[in-house]
């Protein structure tokens, strides 16, 4: 994460605050910052979403393109992640600076979607072994104030929800070759089931307690943090300890417990908000960056 | 000397109150733990608490730190400083060499401003120097030869023959008797008998 330098005194101040369950912006230890989620922000894409969590601002665009399925899994489409840490977030990311963090986030996303239950990829297959849909998920990091993984996972889930993939009619022409024609009617499209898509909860250990959704200052005084991807059923799909410090086992079990509770509590309101936006459809007043 | 037992990093050696942690150990939660794999050594230096340390063969010193006497080879000279490769810290050879710099004003203690670098060192000389600082982010170790027993130990003249020191600022080639200027380290007593 882009780091910010803070002096020892501030670290002690934050630590004491966390010990009494009071953080610098007044939140409790397991509270998220104010979050805004909006879909269909960019028009050139098949699905897009923007998440603004405090000062962390992430925009995800999904474009579906035709491709060949992977030789080992011939009857499924697949996802390709690309994380662009643009220089907008901090001057450090200019040129090749942001690539290291970008590849770290994209490898976590690949791991999260590696197991077969989070997203049903078989629907993306058009003709086994020959044609399938490839979803290019491009994450654009506009502003970075800590907790990038949570915001990214929520934005990816919202974008997948809003993705409209045009239906493909496969017709056999005379000498056995396959004829593909994509319907251009904007309403005749396929939607993805995103209930099982997990969301990431990052728990940072500060002193003897752990906090959710740590800002850059709080991340600077946390020695180690635990990343847990939680589905709405409460299952854990990807766990990673990140950071230079070590954790004692008890706090790992506590953090997994909190992570599961907070993660489960995250899915319901998110799905409700996405449903509402869906119902409004065209009448919804697009806010975007102008709001 | 207690029974010599071998320890591995992370072994708890003793309580904090009955020993003072020496090299190769660290203090945590009131206990002394080993941080190296080697032989445990308790040496009582007169006062009440013995010093406990872990010794791992001879090569204890891994990094040149401030104040250490280092042996280095001069690689390049320019009017403001001389660049060297550090070969030895004390008597232990370093497996991979560290780069150091001897600035013009650190060559000699006397008449600092009248020092001429090419009259003090030449590339290829073996020099005894002392580390004065670890240097900042860009530069590397800062060394000095300003004390008496520091300076050039081995030098070859243009023809490549090893020269013999004849004064604190001159060395002479045994065959051609050509004199060349160097900031010479006086020969230590124990090597004199050769």
């Amino acid at each position: 994460m882009a780091t910010v330098q803070i002096c020892e005194a501030e670290k002690v101040y934050i630590m004491h605050g966390v010990r009494d369950d009071l953080r610098i912006d007044g939140r409790a230890c397991d509270d998220y910052r104010h979050m805004e989620v909006e879909t269909d922000v960019v028009s050139n894409t098949d699905g897009s979403a923007r998440v603004k969590m405090g000062d962390t601002d992430i925009l995800v665009g999904i474009k579906a393109e035709m491709g060949r399925p992977r030789p080992l899994i011939p009857d499924e489409g697949y996802l390709e992640f690309f994380v662009d840490c643009s220089a907008n977030a901090t001057p450090e990311f200019e040129g090749r600076g942001g690539e290291e963090l970008g590849s770290e986030i994209s490898s976590t996303l690949y791991k999260m979607f590696q197991n077969r239950s989070s997203l049903d990829l078989r629907a993306l297959c058009i003709v086994p072994r020959e044609h399938c849909w490839v979803l290019y998920v491009d994450v654009l990091l506009l502003q970075c104030d800590g907790n990038l993984l949570d915001a990214t996972s929520i934005a990816v889930k919202a974008a997948l929800f809003s993705t409209r993939i045009p239906k493909v009619h496969v017709s056999e022409d005379d000498e056995g070759g396959k004829e593909l024609e994509i319907s251009d009617d904007p309403y005749d499209c396929m939607r993805l089931q995103v209930e099982d898509v997990p969301c990431i909860v990052t728990l940072s250990k500060i002193g003897h307690r752990h906090v959710v959704d740590a800002t850059l200052q709080e991340a600077a005084c946390s020695m180690a943090s635990l990343i847990i991807a939680v589905t709405h059923k409460g299952n854990v799909t990807c766990v990673r300890k990140v950071g230079g410090g070590s954790l004692d086992p008890e706090s790992i079990f506590e953090m997994t417990e909190t992570g599961k509770r907070v993660g489960k509590a995250l899915h319901a309101p998110l799905m409700k908000l996405l449903q509402e936006e869906e119902v409004l459809g065209k009448r919804r007043q697009k806010v975007g960056f102008l709001g | 000397m207690s029974l010599l037992k071998l320890c591995v990093p992370g072994d708890r050696l003793c309580g904090a109150e009955d020993c003072i942690p020496g090299t190769g150990t660290y203090l945590r939660h009131g206990y002394i733990f080993a941080s190296l794999a080697g032989y445990v050594l308790r040496k009582n230096e007169g006062e009440e608490l013995p010093i406990i340390s872990v010794v791992k063969e001879t090569e204890a010193q891994l990094l040149p730190d401030v104040g250490a006497i280092v042996t280095c080879k001069v690689t390049s000279i320019n009017p403001r400083f001389a660049k060297v490769h550090v070969l030895y810290v004390g008597s232990t050879p370093l497996k991979d060499n560290f780069r150091g710099t001897i600035r013009k004003e650190d060559v000699r203690a006397t008449e600092k401003d009248k020092v001429e670098m090419y009259k003090s060192f030449r590339p290829g000389d073996i020099v005894l120097a002392k580390v004065i600082s670890l240097g900042d982010v860009q530069s590397n170790y800062l060394l000095t030869t300003a004390e008496n027993e520091l300076g050039v130990v081995v030098a070859h003249n243009e023809a490549g023959i090893q020269m013999i020191p004849i004064s604190w600022c001159e060395m002479q080639c045994p065959h051609t008797h050509v004199k060349e200027f160097r900031k010479v380290a006086p020969v230590q007593s124990e090597y004199l008998q050769a």
Binding site: V236 | M1, P9, S35, Y39, L41, F98, L134, V137
Partner: protein
């Protein structure tokens, strides 16, 4: 794949013969890990049953410290260089040293031939290795210097990252780098309600059953044994959260089972490297 001009040219496209083995009936490759069935190599399920380990320090003479480790058929070699001057001048940290890890599979180490160019999986493993080792090292003793850990997998037969962590920490001790504690790694494969400790490659990748049962996944834990701290944790696949905690406890138990073997290897290496200081110390 862009043509690699720095190596002898190979045909553009070559397939691994395993792809052409006439496929068994499309059923799941479950011969390996049937729920109640004992494991192929006779070890018990849901028990702390680690494969026999062979460990030796000091095999790479050129390195400051090195270690070689075999667990079953998994073979890992690690060499440590440094502390030495760090080339990358820009972010040298004035107060503490830097740990640089490089993780690499030998092309012949996996059933399907790997390429020479480092893949993203190897970079992830190097990152995980670095985060697991860092808590164990006293890096503040080596200001402005850099410790390089190079791990090479000679044969991949399951739980490679776990054994790489243990092998790397043995190499660091052999190199005389000061450490708070050893770092031991242990892996586990959760399969339904039972787990397989220290899984082989077949057990690790087996079980991609057609019907996605829940609670399928792999967990790797890196532990500081005497301080009792977990320095690295990796889990993927879909697991119930209480089985994650159970898996972490089982892995910690596995690490403690491994501890005496590693300790014996290190003590043997230390004794072989130098005679007891009793006689060599002058005063």
């Amino acid at each position: 794949m862009p043509v690699d001009t720095r190596r002898v040219r190979a045909p553009e496209e070559s397939q691994c013969p395993l792809l052409f083995v006439p496929l068994l009936p499309r059923g799941p490759l479950r011969t390996v890990a049937q729920p109640e069935k004992a494991r192929v190599d006779g070890r018990q399920r849901s028990q702390v049953d680690v494969r026999p380990v062979f460990a030796r320090c000091g095999l790479v003479t050129q390195a400051k410290g090195s270690a070689y480790m075999e667990a079953g058929k998994t073979k890992v070699l690690c060499a440590v260089y440094g502390p030495r001057e760090s080339e990358r001048k820009d972010d040298t940290d004035m107060k503490a040293g830097r740990l640089v890890c490089d993780f690499r599979y030998a092309p012949f180490s996996c059933p399907k031939r790997g390429t020479w160019i480092q893949g993203s999986e190897e970079r992830d493993a190097a990152q995980a290795l670095q985060e697991a080792l860092r808590p164990g090292l006293c890096l503040h003793r080596y200001p402005r210097a850099q410790v390089e850990v190079n791990v090479l997998v000679l044969e991949h037969d399951g739980s490679v990252l776990a054994h790489a962590v243990t092998c790397a920490s043995m190499a660091l001790v052999d190199a005389g780098v000061e450490m708070y504690d050893l770092v031991l790694g242990c892996a586990l494969r959760q399969d339904g309600d039972s787990y397989l400790l220290d899984p082989t490659l077949a057990e690790e990748s087996g079980g991609h059953a057609t019907q996605p049962e829940d609670n399928q996944g792999g967990v790797t834990v890196a532990l500081l044994p005497s301080l009792g701290q977990v320095s690295g944790l990796h889990a993927d696949g879909e697991l119930r959260d209480e089985s994650v905690s159970a898996a972490v406890r089982a892995c910690m138990e596995g690490c403690h089972r491994l501890y005496p073997v590693v300790r014996r290897a290190l003590v043997y290496a230390a004794r072989r490297k130098a005679a007891p200081p009793g006689d060599s110390l002058e005063t």
